[in-house]
Each structure stands twice: as structure tokens, then as C-alpha cells.
Point group: C3
């Protein structure tokens, strides 16, 4: 369906075809040239050896660097940073031209300055614009695709940027101006990043999962094997997983709220909000969203694992066995109303908690959180977040019920997993309750509005962030 469109474009824009220059006949240069030609531009390549530079997109011209640079106003530099030095011989020809740096590095922090900044220093007379470097090779050759719809650019000259904006828009991309050339480093680091802010939460999640898996493996499977000589290893796949997932989920959810509480106490203790938090607390606070989303993932798995319980072979077998044995032994079982209340409340708390959990997750979607005012966002993440934590913790307490007191549940003197996982959320909620006390709350609010406790004058002055 796109085809006829391109056809018309080529035909209609014939009289106004603009000429663009590309330095570099490598993969990036060829892909870009191909796409520019398709969109109706004329393209000239600048090459060291114009007559033996390998195959180029049909319709493109090849010239020496000098001739190519003079023929066009905009030059795309598709060359590795290591080879920028040849440009020094072209200082005259590049004067006043728009020089688009599309380069990326293979690693972060190899050079002291960004490629584009280095380029600008090399050719001060040119208007360097950093752009197109965040796109995948595929989308450069074929047009915008999923994660490559946006061209980020930066540069010191507004006019130069405008020219690049127009070309990128014509190629079908959305353009986001990131300001002056000092943002180039950020743009050059972007394609290299692989979920940097997810690493810590992911490691934590894996660590907790592994710990509780082996803890429960020993308490459940190994214990039964050793003490009762029964092999229940088949329970690993579902029963054990369905203990590990909710435990990890609840701990990680409470770890989302712990740093906020710690920060509040630190501010109360210091009597100011302008003193910087220790680094570990800063980093912890910055990954709360990721912690919460991982916790939601584990909670979702817990929900699915719970819902398939009645269709498991093991469960069906046991229910049939229990019915049969009841009949054979002619038992009369009495309906236990307390049990019914407890089990139903347990499920209701779990469902309501999971519902709110999902709401928190949805409000974390970029397009949703962007549409919220921060008052709305903090209402959801803080008020509803604590309600979620309360529901989920209460759900776990209901699961435990009176098992906390029965010694038989402490196999090999170890507490069951769900008891361990209740520690952090209980502490968080207790500390939060302290903060909500009117007198504490008043002090904290004052501090957060900028008030500072100034016991000795000089000390307070020093406390300001440097």
C-alpha cells in the first residue's frame, strides 16, 4: 500500500529534488543513501577512491571528497570516529556546511568527549548536528519501525538542525530535538544501553528467587524425602514455584516502599531536605519503578499458577482420594464457617491486591504517566501503592493464620517461606505508620516544604549540596 505513494512522491517532487552528500561508502552510508534516493533526494557520495569504492545504490553519484562536499549543503558523515582526521584537509570546503554526525562507538566512555563534539572541534567552521545514530540499520534502510521511529538530534546551530529535521521528517521519522551539542554524548550512549536501570532489580529478583527456591526445596522436598522417605519432587514444577513467586513478589513490592520510608527518617534526622542522600539510597530510589514492575510480573505468575491448581492431576487425585476415604470410613464432615470466612477472605484480599497491583503497573506505562499530573501520579503510586502492600501483606497473614504458633510447621527449625517474606513488608508498614503520626508528619511536611532545622548556623550552611 506504501508503493504507489513513493511512486507519486518521486514523480511529483522531481523538479525540487535536493542534493545531499554522504561521506563514507560503508554499510551505514549505503543504507542511508538507498533510503534517501527512494524518498526522492539526489545523492552524491564522497570517497577517497571514487572509481573503486565498491557497489553503491543505483542513481547515486560518486566524487572525490572535495567535489562532493562543495556540491551539497548537507553532508552526512558515515565514517568511524577513528577516521575523522581526513576531514582536516577539507576545512575550507566544509566551512558553513551542515555536517551530520551519525557515528556510534562500540563502548561507552572510551573517549573524553563525544564524537560530535570532537568533530565540531576539528572543523569549527561547519555546523555539526548529531542525528540518526539511534536508529537500527534495518530502519535506516527501510524506514521507521518499532523502536526506531524517532530521530534524536542535537547541535549548536538552530538553522542546521532545522535542515536535518526536514530531511528526517521526509524519511518518515519523528524528530526530537535534544538541545545543544553537549547532549551528543547522551545520544551516542543511547544505542549501547541494554536496560541499565533494570540490572539491579533483575539481579535482586534472581537472587531472591534462587534463595527461596533452594530454601523451600530443602524444607519441602528434601525434608519429606529424608524424614518420611517419600519422593514428592514433582511438586517443584508448580507447588514450589507457586510458593517462590508470591514470596519474591511481596518482598520486592515492599522494597519499593522501603527507600521512601528510609529517606523520610533520614530527612527527619538531618532536619533538612537539601542534603544529598547517600549514593546507595539514591540508586535504590531510582529503581523503584523497575522493582515494582518485576514484583507485578511475579505476582501475575503467582495468579496463573494458583488458578490452574484445580486442573492439576495431583490435586484432582487427592480430592478424589479424600472423598473416597471419607465414604469408606463413613466420616461425617461438618462445615467449618470460620474456615470458609478465612479462605474466602484470603482470596478476596489477594484479588483486590492484585487488581491494585495491575493499576500501579498500568499507570507506569509512559503514555499514561505522561498524561497524569504529578499530584495524580503520586496519589496512585503512594496512596494506592500502600493499599496494595497492605492487601498483599494481609493476604499472606491470612494464609498463615494460626500456623505461626504450631511448632510442627517449623521443619528442621526453619520457619516456612511466607513467614520470612512477611518481615520486610511488616517493617515498612510499621515505619510508615510512625511517619503518619500527626507530630512526625508535621515535621516532615515542614522539611519537605524547604524548612531547615538550624541548630548551629554554620553547620546548616555546610549541609548544602556541593
Amino acid at each position: 500500500p506504501e508503493k504507489p505513494h513513493y511512486f507519486w512522491q518521486t514523480v511529483m517532487t522531481a523538479p525540487e529534488q535536493e542534493l545531499l552528500c554522504i561521506f563514507g561508502t560503508g554499510d551505514f552510508g549505503r543504507s542511508l543513501g538507498q533510503r534517501l534516493l527512494q524518498t526522492g533526494y539526489r545523492v552524491v557520495y564522497g570517497s577517497r577512491r571514487p572509481h573503486s569504492c565498491g557497489p553503491l545504490p543505483q542513481g547515486a553519484q560518486v566524487m572525490s571528497h572535495e567535489a562532493a562536499a562543495q556540491s551539497a549543503g548537507v553532508i552526512f558523515l558515515c565514517v568511524h570516529r577513528e577516521n575523522y582526521d581526513f576531514l582536516e584537509t577539507l576545512v575550507t570546503q566544509l566551512k558553513g556546511k551542515v555536517l551530520v554526525d551519525v557515528s556510534n562507538n562500540l563502548k561507552k566512555n572510551v573517549y573524553p568527549e563525544a564524537n560530535a563534539e570532537y568533530l565540531q572541534r576539528l572543523i569549527p567552521g561547519a555546523h555539526v548536528v548529531k542525528a540518526f545514530n539511534t536508529l537500527s540499520a534495518w530502519s535506516l534502510q527501510n524506514g521507521p519501525s518499532d523502536a526506531s521511529r524517532q530521530v534524536y538530534l542535537c547541535g549548536n546551530s538552530a538553522e542546521a538542525k532545522q535542515q536535518v529535521v526536514e530531511t528526517a521528517t521526509k524519511l518518515g521519522f519523528n524528530v526530537l530535538d535534544r538541545g545543544t551539542l553537549s547532549a551528543a554524548r547522551e545520544l551516542e550512549d543511547f544505542p549501547l544501553q541494554l536496560f541499565p536501570e533494570w540490572r539491579l532489580p533483575l539481579r535482586l529478583a534472581f537472587g531472591l528467587t534462587a534463595f527461596f527456591f533452594f530454601y523451600l526445596l530443602i524444607r519441602d522436598v528434601v525434608y519429606t524425602y529424608v524424614e518420611q522417605d517419600k519422593d514428592i519432587s514433582f511438586r517443584i514444577m508448580v507447588s514450589l514455584a507457586n510458593k517462590v513467586f508470591p514470596i519474591v513478589s511481596l518482598i520486592m513490592l515492599s522494597l519499593c516502599y522501603l527507600p521512601g520510608v528510609v529517606a523520610a527518617f533520614l530527612q527527619l534526622y538531618r532536619g533538612t531536605k537539601y542534603k544529598r542522600f547517600p549514593d546507595w539510597l539514591d540508586r535504590w530510589m531510582l529503581c523503584r519503578k523497575q522493582l515494582g514492575l518485576l514484583a507485578l510480573g511475579f505476582a501475575s505468575l503467582h495468579v496463573l499458577y494458583t488458578l490452574i491448581i484445580p486442573i492439576r492431576y495431583y490435586v484432582r487425585f487427592r480430592i478424589a482420594e479424600s472423598t473416597i476415604s471419607k465414604i469408606k470410613e463413613n466420616q461425617t464432615s461438618v462445615f467449618d464457617t470460620t474456615m470458609a470466612w478465612r479462605v474466602d477472605s484470603y482470596y478476596a484480599m489477594g484479588i483486590l491486591g492484585f487488581g491494585l497491583y495491575l493499576l500501579l503497573g498500568i499507570s507506569s506505562l509512559p503514555s499514561v504517566s505522561n498524561a497524569l499530573s504529578w499530584r495524580e501520579f503520586s496519589f496512585i503510586q503512594s496512596k494506592l501503592g500502600y493499599l496494595t502492600l497492605f492487601f498483599c501483606t494481609f493476604h499472606t497473614y491470612l494464609y498463615g493464620w494460626d500456623k505461626f504458633l504450631r511448632p510442627s510447621y517449623y521443619k528442621w527449625y526453619t520457619p516456612p517461606g511466607y513467614m520470612l517474606c512477611l518481615v520486610v513488608p511488616s517493617v515498612v508498614m510499621a515505619l510508615k505508620l510512625v511517619i503518619l503520626l500527626p507530630c512526625v508528619d508535621r515535621s516532615l511536611t515542614r522539611i519537605r516544604r524547604g524548612w531547615e532545622r538550624t541548630d548551629p548556623e554554620g553547620d546548616s550552611k555546610k549541609s548544602l549540596l556541593t
Copy 2:
């Protein structure tokens, strides 16, 4: 990982450090100053008492208002509106300067004009730009975070706005230009809003939930207690909730579609689309999306409550009892094919309805609906929406089946809850069918394309919106 980046920025941009001025040494002023200093700007504070204005971020200068204003081209005004009058003495110094108004009010509609408009009137020679007021204090001090990624700005001077855009971009924010200073009121109201368009639907949802909860509590629990002297109050947690949620969900879903139908009949009756709808209908139509999303929330809870049925203690107990009693009484039960058809159809309708419900919800996400053409959006929301309503209504009718006719279900002469909840959707679907009749549809289409019934010429002229 961000640290080295800031480090380089500070080092690299050293020679071109720009000087910005901040009026006001309160919380907002200090937080902003701290962030500006971190990003590589030089900052000078203007203060009434430059020598006793309390602690300020290290690296910032303090001067009198006059001196500070003269030293910089851009001045951030971090002062409450009540104290703007001191600026009148600075009219000369502020002439031609960019004056960034970051103020917010504590309440809406306290003043007849927006703070920024008032400021512009006070200092007509300055270029007032409204900006940064929608950010949270945290993100102002620490950089963009979830709901504070976007800086909205407005102002009458394009050049002044451009300068603020550059600073905001350098601080890491995305900037959205909202036009001239007449948009300032909207920007100032934004941080105060707490889900304004959700209030009506939320109240409705709470009202319906409360009504049906007590209605069913009386019909189910109280009735059984009074008439049969049995305590089944444990059913409140799951059984009762799982009746209330689907009922409220279906009613709210049909209330999404009712205003559209009412509007169509109103247009048919009036013979024009240019006459404004009554206020209540306008307000109702504007909250259809929120009604639908709440309905989806209730439907999701209904799904979860339904899926845990087989693992409830009460259900397992009753199934075992029934099997045991069958054996003891040596009953031979016959498989009822009609029952199998009915129950399976009931579930299938529910699942398909819920699937479409989810689709409607997903297409309401801002980023998804922005990517759709309105033809696509209205196809989903209207065509698939009515299909959803049909599936869900049919699901409820299948639940009722033949109970509609049995008097034993009318306890204390009240109809069961699901019968009550079928009223609105049935009416909506009947009215929609009328609208789909060819003759009615034709008239409506003509009206919606701009045609007007002009019985008496003058009357029609009057009908135009004023």
C-alpha cells in the same frame, strides 16, 4: 551510570557556561538553582536581603534584585503571586528580559486572571513565559521522573520561549509548547487537578456498588437468616462480591453507550447537529471513557473472583458432599446435554465479551489511541463496543436462563440482582436497533453531515449555537 556523564558535561561546557537569574530563595528557587548548577549553568539569586537570605546551593551568587536582574537575560521568578508587586520597582531592569513564571496557586479560580497574565500586565516590557510549574519538587531537584518528564510552557514571544525551551531540554525535560500566554491559566490549574474527569464515574461506581451490595445482602444473607435460620454470612467475601461486580460492570458499560443513543434521538428530534446538547448530556458524553474503564475494572475483578471458585473451601466441601450423598442414596444422575450447552455457552460468551472489553481498554491507552486514525478508533469503540455489550448482556441472559419465570427466585418479592442489571443494557440495545433501521439511519446520517430540517426559516437560524 549518569554520574560520569554529568561530570563530562560540567567539564566540557565550562567555557560556555550561561548565567541564569533566580528571584526567590524559597524551596522552589533553591531546588531549581541546585539543578541548574548541576547541569553546568551559572546561577545568581536576586534577594531582598542578599546577606541574610539563608543557605543557598554552593556555587550560586546572591545579589540585590536590581543587580541580579541586570546580570542575566533570563530570570526565573520563584515567588508567590501575592509578592509580585515588588517587581514594579524593577520595571526598567526587567525591560526586554525573559521572565519565567513558575508559580502555582493553592486553589483554582481564586484570581480573575492567571498569575503569568497578571505578571505580564505588571511588567509589560518583559517577555513573560509560563513554564516548569507542572513539575514536582522532587523532579525539579533531581531531573525528570515518571509524571514529571514534560515541561509545558506558553508565552507571547517566540524568541523568549525558545530560550526557555533550550534550558528545559538541557535539564533533560521534554518541552510542549501550549501557545500564547492565554493558556497560562490551564497550565496553572494542571498541578491542582486530581482526576477531575474520573469523579462522576467513580461516584456512580461507588453508588451502584453500595446499592447492589446491600440489596443482595438482604436478599441472600438476611433472607436466609430470617427465613431458614441459617448463617451464610461468610459468602459476603466472594459469592456476594462476585454478584455485585458483574452487575455494576454491565450497568456501567451500558451507560457508556446510552448517551450516544440519547444524543442521536435528540438530533433526530431537533433536526440539526448544530444545537448544543443539554449540559448533563455533554458532561455524560465526556466521561464515557472513564465509565468504560471502570466497567472494565469491575469485569476484571469478576473474572478473577469466578476463576477462584473451584479452589474455595466452601465449593470443594459442597462438591464432596454432593458426591457422597449421591453414593449413599445410590442416585443415578443423567448427563443433561441442554445444561452442558447452556453452561458452556454462558462461559464462552463471558470470555469473548471480556476479551473484547480488554481490547477496548487497550485502545484507550493514550499512545495506542494517538496512533489510530479516528475512523479506526470509532470502529473499535463503536462497532466492537456494541459487540462487547451484546456478548456481556447475552452472557447475563444465559445466566438467568429460565429463572426469570420461576416465582421462587423472587425472594421477598424482589427480583434477583442480575435481572435489575439487564434493564439498562436491554434498553440501550433496543434503541440502537431502532437507530440502525434504514429510514432512521438515513435521516441521522444526513443530519450528521450538516443537513438541517428548516421548518420555519427563522427558528432554524435561532437554533445555532451562541
Copy 3:
């Protein structure tokens, strides 16, 4: 809540009210005029018969085209393309004016050039801007609503576009500049599109669903009826659907990954990445996202259909029957550990596969994929995608278990549905394994970095895309 805002705007902006001109008094012209008047603009209509042009929004003036054109700097052309020719008489009055073309056509590709381009050719002296044509009539009259929040515009004059941007922003819309007037055709086609990229995947999904529905209907229902004279048609609603949905889902998921594998082998065979793929492969690759999302939809239905199994009448009846018959025949059933392992693994694979499936779906949301670097996006879609495919395929193999070998499962010499659906995913995974072999992987990586196999020099040159 919006009311007071408009009130103030009207009052405050009174002295600076700008005058805009609208040509055309049809539906679009009236709706636009009404909205402009509400926002505080003055509006003058240009009409052929200024004294008998029907009812217009109160407050608007009507003049002849000539007079109206001269009075304003911006003219909105709300006229069908067929009637543009009257403008030729106004060439003098329109010189230097901004002419906003809001027109749409009823069909695509009717005219050789876009309306706006035709208009520019007709009135070369005017600055034509294409805008507002993608909005729904409702949102034009009432302000931004769900799928009509964005005004796309294009035009050759930056100043003319800026004027239209300001008006659109004042009306409350977000503006997206799509470049020069050559983008007009795309903008004019946008409102006509109804999920073009979903058509092929939807047709495929319907085809597969229909095929497997009838295939399984014959194998399950008809076979049982013919061979055993039993009517099990009630199984259509849930049991049959729950076989068709997972089958279609798995096939469509594997069809997402097949084109990538085919493309890799094609590149290996051709020894270059610069030769264009055949058209069918291109089209296939462009609809992978839609294939995947449909597959996710089917998988979600499969999950819901599976989870309601234990509350079906048919299942409860059968379980009770089996318990009763066990007791009557005094069977002693032995717990089968292999069976427990197998069933639990089957469910665990399914849940983990579905969890990853959901993750893929979430990362396809526009706002999420825009926030990812393409390295992150391709990690999710490729690495996690293949893991999803592996889990789901393994889940299906576990479902089959040893049934592959038992002839009794080949009713009427046809294999069960799940065997058929395993063909494509197994092939895709086998081919992927070949590609992952070190030697193959090395060649492919080289080719994807731009290397070309150049057996005969001339041949390779020809191979470049034309």
C-alpha cells in the same frame, strides 16, 4: 470545569482577537468556525452568495470571497476539491496569504496529486498548508478527543506553518509537523485508512481458525457421532474452541519468526544484504507485529478457556462420575508420579510461555517501544521471542506426550490438531538452530555488517537495489 476557562479566555483576549477567514459554509466550515469563535477568534466566512448561505455560527460575519480573503491573513479552505477552480478568480487576493487545505477525499488514489499540491499549483502565490483533515467532525466542533488529539500538518513555508501551529495549539490540539507539501498525500490518506497493516494477519487468523474449527469438528464431534452414535456437539462452545485457539496462536507466533529466518537464508544464499527481498517477504516482515499481537489474543482466549475448565458442568459431572464409579467398583487407584511431573510441567511451560508472550505484547505498545533503544527492543522481540516460541512449542509437545505413537489417536487417518500445529514452529526452531551454528552465524553477521560476496564483479554491481 472547562467553562470558566473559556469564559476568561474570551474576556481576557478581547483586545487581541485575531480575524480568521473560512471559505465554505458546509458542515466542516461551520464546525470549525464555531470552535474558533469559542476559543476567542473573530471569524469571517467567504461565500458565493453572502446573503443566502444558510445559518452560520453566531458572531461570524459573511462576505463575498474577495472581501473575506482580503480581510484576513489565514484562510481555511473548507471546500471539496472538485470546487477548487473558483479560487482561480481570487489569485490576486490570495497572494501571500496562508491557505489551509482541510479537505479529504472519499477514496484513495483518485487523483494523480494530493489536494493540497493541486491547490498550490492552482494558486502558486499562496502559502498552502495541509492541516486539520485528520480530525473527526466531533472533535473539530468540540475540541480534542481520544483519537483526535493531534493535528498533522505539512507545507512548504515554515512561517505559514507556524501560524497554523499557533491556531491549532490554541484550539487545544498537539501539532505534528510532517514536513513539506509532498507529505500531503499521506495526510489525506490517513483518515481513510482502516487497519491496513492488520488485514493480512486478520485474514490469516480467520482462515486458520475456520480450517481448524472444521477439521476438529469432523475429527471430534462428527467422528463420535458416526462411529459411536453419541452427540457431543455441546463441546463446540468450549472444548473445541479451546483446541482451535491455542493451535492458531502457536502457528501465528511461529509465522512471526519464519520470515526472519527465511530472510537470513536468502541473505546467506545471495551473499549480500543490499539486494531487495521479494515483495511477499517484505510484506510478511512488515506485518510480524500484527501477527504476534493476534497470536497473543488467541493465547489469552486459550488461557481463559482453560481456567474455566473446572467450573464447567460437563467437567464436574465427569469427575463426580469417575469418583462414584471408582467406589462402586472398589478400584484402588495408584498415584502416578510421571503423570504428575508431566501435567505440572505442561502447565508450567504454558504459564511461563504466556508470561513472556504478554511481555512481548507490552513492549509493542507505542509508548513502551518508543522508550526503548533498538538494542533493547530487538533483545526483547528476538531473544525473548524465541524463548516464548520454545516454551509454547514445548508446552504443546508435553500435551502430546506419547500420543504421537498411538494409532488410536489418528481417527479416520487424520492426525490430531496439535500435531499439525507443531509443524511450523518445529521447522522455525530447527532453521534458527542452523543459523546459530558458529560458521553460519559468522557469515551472516559479516553480511549484515555490509560485507558482500563478490564472485563476479559485474554481477554484484547489478545486484544493488534500483
